[in-house]
């Protein structure tokens, strides 16, 4: 039984790779070959689809927009969640449990519910169609998540660390920045990974809050799909390129993923 056990993950990973293989296969074909024939490997290998994306500003601009708001959101979420998670893990204060549950309810709110009011809110304050608007909107679900994960990591740090530092006369913020934050470095890495992930994959809010200037790559893709209809190779190439940032991030945190899931209770 143990001898064939490796087959289960192996088959599963094979299943995971099939759609990705097909996407890559299509991205290296021209439109004629995609529509006219059925080939398991591109017969006329072409990089034209990728060249188009890297030279057309509406395409590569979409990538830059997406990366910009994802990074802004990740930095903001982690920065404000750090002191809050510390408060939840160390102190008891009026309404703490209710506050924690209220934060989590925002992780449960369907984005479809918020799409229209978000549009009106961000239009009203003049942030519509900016990267900042998307970065702020994604805080709705990423801040609760960051607080949740970080609180898990911080509860694993013994309280003696804080007490010793305070007895030694460290002011709070110096202790927090110089000693405490470096102690939970891996936790911050895992948190940043999840914030990056959920901001990178979200489309409904990102699309609702942008029109031209700050349009994310994913929205460029859906509009191409609906207007020009048959540029499937281009669509496939753009899709293939959106896998890369995620793959890079996974590679860097590969040793922390499982641990982060366990400790962070994500």
């Amino acid at each position: 039984m143990r001898r064939v056990a490796w087959l289960v993950p192996a088959l599963y990973i094979l299943f995971l790779l099939v759609p990705i293989y097909w996407l890559l296969n299509m991205s290296f074909k021209n439109t004629n070959e995609i529509l006219g024939s059925f080939t398991l490997w591109p017969r006329e290998f072409t990089l034209a689809n990728y060249r188009k994306i890297f030279t057309d500003p509406t395409w590569y601009g979409g990538y830059l927009n997406s990366l910009a708001y994802v990074v802004m959101n990740t930095v903001t979420s982690v920065a404000v969640a750090l002191p809050a998670a510390y408060a939840f893990s160390r102190y008891r204060f009026l309404g703490d449990k209710h506050l924690f549950f209220w934060l989590l309810t925002n992780r449960m709110a369907p984005p479809a519910v918020f799409a229209l009011p978000f549009f009106q809110l961000y239009s009203a304050i003049g942030l519509f169609d900016t990267r900042l608007a998307v970065a702020l909107a994604h805080c709705l679900f990423n801040i609760p998540l960051a607080v949740w994960i970080l609180e898990g990591f911080m509860s694993g740090v013994p309280k003696e660390l804080d007490e010793t530092a305070f007895i030694d006369g460290y002011p709070f913020w110096r202790f927090f920045v110089r000693i405490f934050v470096p102690t939970i470095g891996s936790g911050i890495g895992v948190t940043a990974f999840f914030c990056f992930m959920f901001s990178w994959v979200e489309l409904l809010l990102a699309k609702t809050l942008t029109a031209v200037e700050a349009k994310p790559i994913a929205a460029t893709m859906t509009r191409t799909a609906s207007t020009s209809g048959y540029e499937l190779g281009l669509l496939a190439a753009a899709g293939a390129l959106t896998i890369i940032p995620g793959a890079v991030v996974i590679y860097f945190v590969r040793n922390y993923i499982a641990k982060g899931f366990a400790l962070g209770r994500v």
């Binding site: 102190y91 204060f93 449960m108 369907p110 898990g152 309280k159």
Partner: protein, 291 residues
């Protein structure tokens, strides 16, 4: 929150959570109040509103369309939970515990989680197209009549396969994390006692995974209940309304027909159902853990 040793009472801790409260409240309270506001009013344009009380709520709760979308949603969530949870656990149990293969598995399995949701939909679209997709063409070649844009059953099967592809890894990674936390001594003790494989699973592995599996089921429940982008890109809710899940229906009402009142009432009912089911599940599962 985890039960740590006694926490210090400190009201000034509010200053530490204030930025989080401000940012989240800005994004959550104002839009939610907007929704509540719309849900009790009627408008004919020009920003003129009339108070309508609970009319929209009654209308939504009695509408067959909402009931059907809700039934489809519950069916979808039920099916994907029934597949993804056992499959994820089985994969985690069979994965190598350490070494380069474990790392390789983790990296490869995490990949679908980081692909933008519309790309997931587009990818499966390209894969399943009956004329040029590998899956669609392949199924038709072996004699199975398959066209997910026309047959409701095929659309459902494709949708479920896509979700299993997309999210089983999350359950597997969580279960794997739970398994990694079991000390080797437990297995050695079981071996000395001559415990069978199923006994090890039932009395050692399952209890140790219980906590992370609770989180896995809860997350999968919440996320599948809110699913929008992937089915929207793949089937657009069709053929007909066969795969119109709750979110898709809601967006059709709100942004397609611009019926703000009914859409807002539907939003609130939808949100409350999600909250209630999540809360019941979490309370039941954590009741005997004492925190």
């Amino acid at each position: 929150m985890a039960a740590v040793e006694a926490k210090t009472p400190n009201q000034r801790a509010w200053w530490l959570v204030a930025p989080v409260v401000l940012l989240v409240a800005f994004n959550a309270v104002i839009p939610l109040m907007t929704v509540v506001n719309y849900s009790v009013q009627e408008t004919f344009g020009d920003n003129v509103f009339f108070f309508e009380g609970v009319k929209w709520f009654e209308q939504v709760l009695h509408s067959g369309r909402f009931h059907q979308a809700l039934q489809r949603q519950l069916l979808f969530t039920g099916i994907i939970l029934a597949i993804e949870v056992p499959l994820g656990v089985a994969i985690a149990l069979a994965m190598p515990r350490r070494g380069p293969w474990a790392s390789a598995c983790l990296v490869l399995m995490a990949m679908p989680l980081l692909i933008p949701w519309n790309v997931v939909g587009a990818m499966w679209n390209l894969l399943a197209l009956p004329d040029i997709g590998l899956l669609g063409r392949g199924l038709n070649a072996v004699g199975i009549d398959y066209n997910y844009t026309r047959q409701p059953l095929a659309a459902w099967a494709t949708l479920v396969a896509m979700d299993v592809w997309h999210w089983t890894s999350l359950v597997a990674l969580l279960a794997y994390a739970g398994l990694s936390a079991i000390p080797d001594a437990y297995y050695q003790a079981a071996k000395i006692d001559g415990a069978s494989g199923s006994a090890v699973f039932r009395y050692i592995q399952l209890p140790k995974m219980k906590h992370v599996l609770t989180i896995a089921v809860l997350l999968r429940f919440m996320d599948s209940f809110m699913i929008y982008t992937e089915p929207m890109v793949l089937t657009g809710g069709g053929p007909g309304n066969a795969t119109t899940l709750l979110s898709i229906d809601l967006v059709k009402v709100a942004l397609g027909q611009f019926d703000l009142g009914p859409a807002a009432a539907m939003s609130l009912i939808y949100f409350l159902i999600t909250l209630l089911l999540s809360w019941i599940y979490y309370t039941v599962m954590t009741k005997d853990e004492g925190h």
